[in-house]
Symmetry: C2
Subunit: 227 residues, 2 copies
C-alpha cells in the first residue's frame, strides 16, 4: 500500500531554508483509518501532498502498491492519482466558473465515464453531503462550509481506494461534521483506506491510528479504539 | 454603534430563490464581544458581509454610528469600512502575488500611513500572530493555518473600532487558536467591539453574548459569562 522512507521537503527561499518535512517514515496498510494531527505549520499538508502524488519530495522514497513513485513521469503519476486516490484539499481548489455538479463530475470525466452515468453519480455524491439543492451554484454562490462539502463529494465520487482528506470538517458545525465523518466511516467499512488531517480531537477519534507531526517529523504513532 | 432592522438578502437564481437572510434585527453597542453560531449555510457570513459594508441588503436598514449605510456611495462606504472595520474573511482573501508583510500593510496603505511606520506596524502585527519569520512568504508558500493568521494580522493592524472575524480559528490547532483569541480579548479590553463567527463551543465561550442563526434568522441572543 503506502511505504514512505526518509521523506524530506525543503524549500530554499532567498534568505532562509524551510524544512517542511525533515525525514518521515510511514507505512499504511490497506483499509487502515489514520488521523494526522499537529500544530499549524508542522508539515501535515506537505506530507499529504506527497502521499497524494501532488508534489515530489526533496529526498526519500515513496512506494504506492509496490511501485516507486519517483520513477513515474507526469502522465503515469496523473493516472495513478486519478485511479487510486480521492483528495480533499485544505483550500478546496474548486473550479470557480463551474457549478457544484460539474466540480463533482470532474474525476469521472478524467476516467472517461459517460454523460448520463456521470450526472447520476455526481448527483448521488452531492446528495450524500446534503447539497442536492445547490447543484447549480458556482463556488462564489456557496457558503464556506458548502464549498467544503462539495470538495468532499468530489473526492468520494470515483470510489477511490485511498481517501486523503486534509481538514475535511475545518469550517463545519458539529452536526454537519458528524455527517461527513459518517461518510468516511462508511467508506472504511467498505474496505477503503482513509488518511485524515484534523486539529479537532473529536474528529481524530474516528480513526484507528493517530499520528502526531511536529516540525516536519512524526513524533508519535499510536493505535486507538475509534469512537 | 450597529443598528440593523429587518435585514434580508435574497439571491434570485435561474430556477430558485435563496433567502440567505430573512429578516434580521441586531443592535451591537460599543465594546461588546459577540459570538455568532449556526449550521453551515444558515446565513452567518452573509450577515457579517452586510455588517462590514461589503455587501448591500435586499431589504432592511443598517445604521453604523447613527449613519444609514444604504445612503452612502461606494467611496464613502470604502472610507467608513477602512476607518472603522477590520475584517477577517472566512476565505482569507489574501493577495496571491504579495508577501505576508505586504498583505498586512494593505489597510495602512489605504489610510495613507508612510513607508517606514507602515513597515514597523505590519511587522509588529505579524509578530503578534507568531509569523515574523514568514514575512517574505507569498500565500502559496504558507500553510493553511499560517494564511489564516496573516489574515488576522491584516484585520488588526489598523486598530479598527470594530473587528469582524468570520471563523478566525477554523483551520488552527487549539494552542494557536487560543493565542489568536488572546489577541481579540486584548483588543476588547482596549475598548474595541468584537463580532466573531465560529462553530466551536470553546471559541464562542470567549464572548460576552451568544447569537444563534438558523435559516437566515436570529433564533436566540443570550448574555454569557466569558471564560
Ligand atoms: N451568491 C450567492 N448566490 C446564491 N446563493 C448564495 C450566494 N451566496 C450564498 N448563498 C447561499 O446563502 C446561504 C447562506 O450563506 P452563508 O455564506 O451566509 O452561510 P454561513 O452560515 O456562513 O455558512 P458556513 O458555516 O458554511 O460558512 C447558503 O445556503 C448559500 O448557499
Ligand atoms: N512553497 C513554500 N515555500 C516555502 N515554505 C513553504 C512552502 N509551502 C509550505 N511552506 C512552509 O512549510 C511549513 C509546513 O507547511 P504545511 O502546509 O505542511 O503545514 P500544516 O501542518 O499543514 O499547517 P496548517 O495546520 O496551518 O495547515 C510551513 O511552515 C510553511 O510556511
Ligand atoms: Mg495544512
Ligand atoms: Mg460562512
Amino acid at each position: 500500500m503506502i511505504e514512505a522512507r526518509g521523506l524530506k521537503k525543503i524549500y530554499r527561499m532567498a534568505k532562509v531554508e524551510v524544512r517542511a518535512l525533515d525525514g518521515v517514515d510511514l507505512d499504511v496498510m490497506p483499509n487502515e483509518f489514520l488521523a494526522i494531527m499537529g500544530p499549524s505549520g508542522s508539515g501535515k499538508s506537505t506530507l499529504m501532498n506527497l502521499l497524494g502524488c501532488l508534489d515530489t519530495p526533496t529526498e526519500g522514497t515513496y512506494k504506492l502498491n509496490g511501485t516507486e513513485v519517483s520513477g513515474l513521469d507526469d502522465d503515469e503519476l496523473a493516472a495513478v492519482r486519478n485511479r487510486e486516490i480521492g483528495f480533499v484539499f485544505q483550500t478546496f481548489n474548486l473550479l470557480a466558473r463551474a457549478t457544484s455538479l460539474h466540480n463533482v463530475e470532474l474525476p469521472l470525466i478524467y476516467s472517461g465515464v459517460g454523460g448520463r452515468n456521470r450526472h447520476q453519480r455526481a448527483m448521488a455524491a452531492l446528495e450524500k453531503v446534503g447539497l442536492a439543492d445547490r447543484a447549480d451554484h458556482r463556488p462564489n454562490e456557496l457558503s464556506g462550509g458548502e464549498r467544503q462539502r462539495v470538495a468532499v463529494a468530489r473526492a468520494l465520487v470515483n470510489d477511490p481506494a485511498i481517501v486523503l482528506a486534509d481538514e475535511p470538517t475545518g469550517t463545519l458545525d458539529s452536526k454537519t461534521s458528524h455527517e461527513i465523518m459518517q461518510l468516511l466511516v462508511g467508506l472504511h467499512e467498505n474496505g477503503q483506506t482513509i488518511i485524515l488531517v484534523t486539529h479537532e480531537d473529536d474528529i481524530s477519534g474516528y480513526a484507528h491510528r493517530g499520528v502526531k507531526v511536529l516540525d516536519g517529523l512524526i513524533v508519535s504513532d499510536e493505535r486507538q479504539t475509534p469512537r
